[in-house]
Symmetry: C5
């Protein structure tokens, strides 16, 4: 059975027609773990909190607050966070719709960003939706599951003395976006290696699994494309006219945009390579079939006439009755004559096949 | 015989050249059932009416009237409704042209919206045209057949205390659109499961029905795409510059637009998967053919030479006449010699095939 | 031999480099029949005329004149008509270039429209170029051959009391366009039925004609697409900024534009269905080939070993010479033993094939 | 070996990095022949000149000078012409780059136009680059080789009394462009006939040459497309805002633009037809293979069992030893019994194949 | 094993989430060799330097300085160069990201250009990233490896008296770009020859390597396309509104842009040819398979009946027992009769095959 990615969340299968903004938790979503990092140039507090109310003290001027929610299993928590940070209810509904297309939405006081994070878990592609709210001095991020590729960003915050501590919340949001986008590169590298391996197999000794694996790779690439393609437009909108984002950050966002373009380009290339693989496989198969057919034809074409000659002299016409009845059977050189006839036939056919290039020449 | 959806209504086959605005009822259209829901924040009247005239009393200020027509079998009724609500005759003609492309048309005092509602009836895709007229304080909707996915909207109206009762007719129209759009998700889920099942069949033991079923799925996806694709543009126009629609509703319409984009994306993915299925099937078939050919070739290649040897010693050359005539027949070890010769041949060929990877190794 | 449509008129093969505006009559163009319909709200004159001069009396204020020319075999007549109505010489050249792309061209005092009329003659697609000149109070139309789908328009004019008699020449032009566009629907219906029939044949018992017929349908659809696609842009230009066309007529033209979009959509669907047919056919063929190969392989694989055994005991080794020489021949149960051996072989192979799913299970 | 068109001139293979504007003569370019036609409404001089200096006397007010250069083998001549007419050195470099993409370039005092002229020489497509400089009162044209499709234009100039003599240099340039564009039509006609012929062959009795010829046609069509496609944009620029071109000429250029669109449309159609041909061919081949396989299978399936029965009664079990040993051999009706058995088998199989539709019914 | 180009640098596989602007040297990048060419109309200094500080003296008014860095193995050197010329850190990061998409980035005082240089090394495509910084009076270029196609530009500088010495830094940048773009032409010529050779092989005697080679060519063309395609947009931006670039240079850049378009066109053509090759190959293979099958079928169909007749008269029915038991065996003309029967059968079948066009006629 083939491995698959869900494109459509069960959670979305709420009864069509329910009121918009209804928060429905995705199936099997883990309980949320909420982490707060509050920092400015000089100070840093990092804390796992139980109650959203604990965030409020951090929300003071001159401090950037990053609230990260790992797990979407608690709709109430989302509502409370929504109230604290003033998040729009339609946006919160999108946070829970874990197969949403990446996008950027601008609200009065915050920017809402949906992205898809790609990573490999045991060589299997794992896609997770990460949503951000960027406000004047806060970033609230939501992830489907624990485990992410944002650790280096946390390290940079912890280490201090770096740009991320001097700049504002928009730079933090950029840093998260950049980490998510750069996270696609090792995944692409993995697919490149798998495609290389498959190509070598196809050219060498194509087997049935090639088709299935190519099919799987194609689908994985498609899933990646779904995750990265709309990000292009989203990033281009972010580096456009957005009051919450400083011009300096926009320069960095443009760099991030370049990376997205590069990823899209590479994905396109891999898709073509995967498509080429199927062609290569079918050609290889046709070649092998041709080879099988040739062996059959050569063998049949040689042994059928020989068998016929043998059958001929196996006939029981009575030589006693008539001198015309198989006199060869009583010739002194009858048997050698028959063998010679056969050898002649076989040699003739071998030469014929050799001339046609079916044997002896390497095809 | 394949199941099919009509893309072209018989009803459209009116004599080309008839005057525009001529109302021609679609073939086999059921008799209309007209339901009125009139409500405001405090009151709600729900009623099945026989005569369009009964609507008039509801049309007073501060009340939102939703007239729903199930069944298009009565052109006169349409005309009367058109007069009561001031609907344009060309729009009414489009209501009856039940295979119309979804669109939004703006008239002086109303907005005309055509959509296609998708649902499953006994696992078969069922597409129905739903047209709306949105006026200042009314919505008139037309459906081809009884049965729809708008029941949850009615429930929300009946329950009261919800946004749908506080806001104006444009929000009602949005709620209907949203219900119709969200109705595509369970249908997509159904196709996803069918594609999964087909993929497993193709990889396991491809049979002929796969092709037909893939063909059917492709067509169903195409029909869905026809229904949803133009809605993208329609919704984008609705959330544009339309005096009848409030800014707050436009925010909701943008959310609905996002869902349409998501549906289009998923449809695209499914189309590619269905296309991939055909490739997978043909590869699978080629593989099986190759396997069949190999069995044939191996058997023929082994038994033809053996049969030839048997035929050889079945020849009737007379050993009495000449010592050269098949002396083997009278050797003491003649028969074991012949059998050994055959075993040698067979073993040699088996080793040859094994070396070629045709037998013994799993391909 | 396949049926074909000419895309390139012989008439266009005038010597490249001849002066523009040279009127060259298409090959085998029939002699023109000129009909005049002159009408206003109260009066109607309908007349077949011999001499273009006869038109002049009708050209008075308050009367709409429709001159219809059936057949393009007379360049002089065109020139005279051109002089009477002030038609541009380049436009007249295009009238005679009977394979011109549909377009709308605006001149000082008239609008020039080229369209392609589609109809079925004996189930064969027949495409005819229809060109219009729309002036302030006249329409001059040119058709390649007698016979058209504009009769219902004439009927509406004759009947009187209808909008077509009250409005101006632009509405008449719209009515003609609408009749031509709506004329595509029965043609599409015909192709839909042919595709349905072909699909059923392919799924049931694919034969060679399917390929040819699919090829023909593809080409016919292509020809239709050539005729309708550019009309989209033409109609959109007509409902744009054109002083000769009233706003009310533009509303009707937008409706006509909708129909063109619908036709294009349906054509696209049919093209995909025709493409799918070829895939279906090839899959069906591969399936049949596979089936043929299996029968061959099963028969060969069973009878070759049996034949070998029979051949073995047909060898003439002399049992008198040595007790090792085919003692089976003199066993009491020799013959039953041989038959048993054969039955064993055959049964073993049948079980092997059954296990492989080659026989007994329905594929 | 396949016939081919060079897309890349050897001449372009100058050392990358040489200074721009370096004039390098194409390989094997013939020596130029320079013809001058100087005319106004009343007078005409036509002359082959040896020295570019001879042109100068013609360059007076009120005279239009057309200098045509056949052959690009002399860089000095180009330089001299460049000086006389004030042509830009980069444009002259493009004249010699004989595989340049058609384009229009506007310089201070002249317009530079590159086009590709298509004609047939002995049924082989011949593409030649024709470049023009259009100045206030001159046209300088460059062709790769003698022989062109501009003769009718020359005739019109010589004849006098025609528009070409009354109007200015821009009309002359238009006339040349129009002659070149119209020159594509006979070429297209030729390809249409070749495609028709190939289609009939494929449907009738497909042979190997079909593939090669289709491949050649595809490439020729591609080459034509390369020549005509960019002309679309070029012509649209010419009929745009160009001070050197009068409004009246622009009307003619728009007509020429229409022809280019028509050619592109036809080319697109032919490309699809050529693509369809390959499909048709492969289907035809599959069909034939199927037929061959069926013959083989039928013959093998009938004769293998018969051969087995014959082999059975060819066994040498000794009936003397045991009554069980092939008693049939001594039955009175033994031989007829064996023959009957065979006939029964054969008939049974024939009925089976007939039921399967493999024989007797026309497929 | 197939040859491959890396699209994704190992160097890019830095831990996602590291701070932007971090300079990480690509794997196995050679140590840089820095060359300075400082020149004006009259003077020229050319020097290999060890320490970036040595550049400073050249940076005076009226002198154009070209610093070329061959090899990216030293991040410190880049930083120092960045400080001297005021290069943006994000741009420097892109210099080291050696698989960056070509682009033009405008900074305050410099323009940053990334291009990809294509050349052949031992008939293998070699792609190298070349980045430029263009300032008011300097160009700093970075190459991955020693060896380039810029030598002719250096020669033109050295020779003096040419435009490159009179004009400013923007012309130098153009000259480098032009040399890089023109460097694609010999590479394209190489691929054209390989495609020609492959086409001849496929038409003549297709072998397995064709598929692999086609696959390789396709990938190489894809890599070239990746290198040249974005350059189109980059060059179009360069010839747009850029204060650092003079209008005269923009004219040259437009010429360069034309070459890029031409390269893209040719690449597109080659891609189609490579795609056509695969089709051609598969058709050729099908043809050969068909031919093999025909030989097999003809041989089998002829010899199976003959073998059957021989087997028939090899049966051992006892003619002594019954006059019905194979009386032919004792006929005087028994043997000739059997041989005649066989000859008749064989001739009949040969005529049948000849009629079917399977033998004797050239297919």
């Amino acid at each position: 059975m083939l491995k698959r990615h869900r494109l459509l969340p069960k959670s979305h299968l709420k009864l069509p027609g329910t009121a918009p903004g209804t928060l429905i938790v995705p199936e099997q979503a883990p309980e949320p773990v909420v982490t707060v990092m509050a920092f400015n140039r000089d100070e840093l507090t990092e804390k796992v909190i139980e109650n959203p109310e604990e965030i409020k003290p951090f929300l003071k001027k001159g401090t950037i607050v990053w609230v990260n929610v790992d797990g979407l299993g608690d709709a109430d928590l989302l509502k409370k966070l929504g109230e604290i940070f003033g998040l729009h209810t339609l946006a919160l509904e999108d946070v829970l719709n874990v197969h949403h297309r990446p996008k950027v939405e601008e609200y009065d006081k915050e920017i809402f960003i949906i992205t898809r994070m790609a990573c490999l878990r045991n060589d299997v592609l794992d896609i997770e939706q990460v949503s951000f709210f960027l406000g004047k001095n806060f970033v609230v991020s939501f992830q489907e599951r624990p485990g992410d590729c944002l650790e280096p960003v946390r390290e940079r915050i912890r280490k201090g003395g770096q740009r991320i501590r001097f700049m504002e919340a928009d730079y933090l949001a950029y840093a998260l976006l950049d980490a998510i986008v750069d996270g696609y590169f090792p995944v692409l590298e993995h697919f490149s290696e798998r495609l290389n391996a498959l190509e070598d197999v196809v050219v060498g000794n194509p087997d049935k699994q090639v088709v299935e694996q190519t099919h799987e790779i194609k689908r994985d690439l498609q899933v990646l494309r779904h995750g990265i393609w709309p990000l292009r437009e989203a990033l281009s909108r972010l580096s456009g006219d957005m009051p919450l984002i400083h011009d300096e950050t926009k320069l960095f966002l443009r760099d991030c945009y370049d990376h997205v373009i590069q990823i899209i380009d590479i994905l396109e290339t891999y898709r073509e390579r995967a498509a080429g693989l199927t062609d290569l496989y079918l050609s290889s198969l046709s070649n092998k079939m041709n080879e099988v057919m040739k062996v059959l034809t050569i063998i049949a074409t040689i042994f059928m006439p020989l068998g016929f000659i043998a059958g001929l002299y196996g006939m029981n016409f009575d030589p006693d009755v008539s001198p015309l009845n198989m006199p060869e059977l009583r010739w002194y050189f009858g048997y050698p004559f028959a063998l010679g006839l056969m050898a002649l036939f076989a040699a003739g056919l071998l030469i014929y096949f050799w001339r046609k290039g079916w044997i002896g020449r390497k095809n």
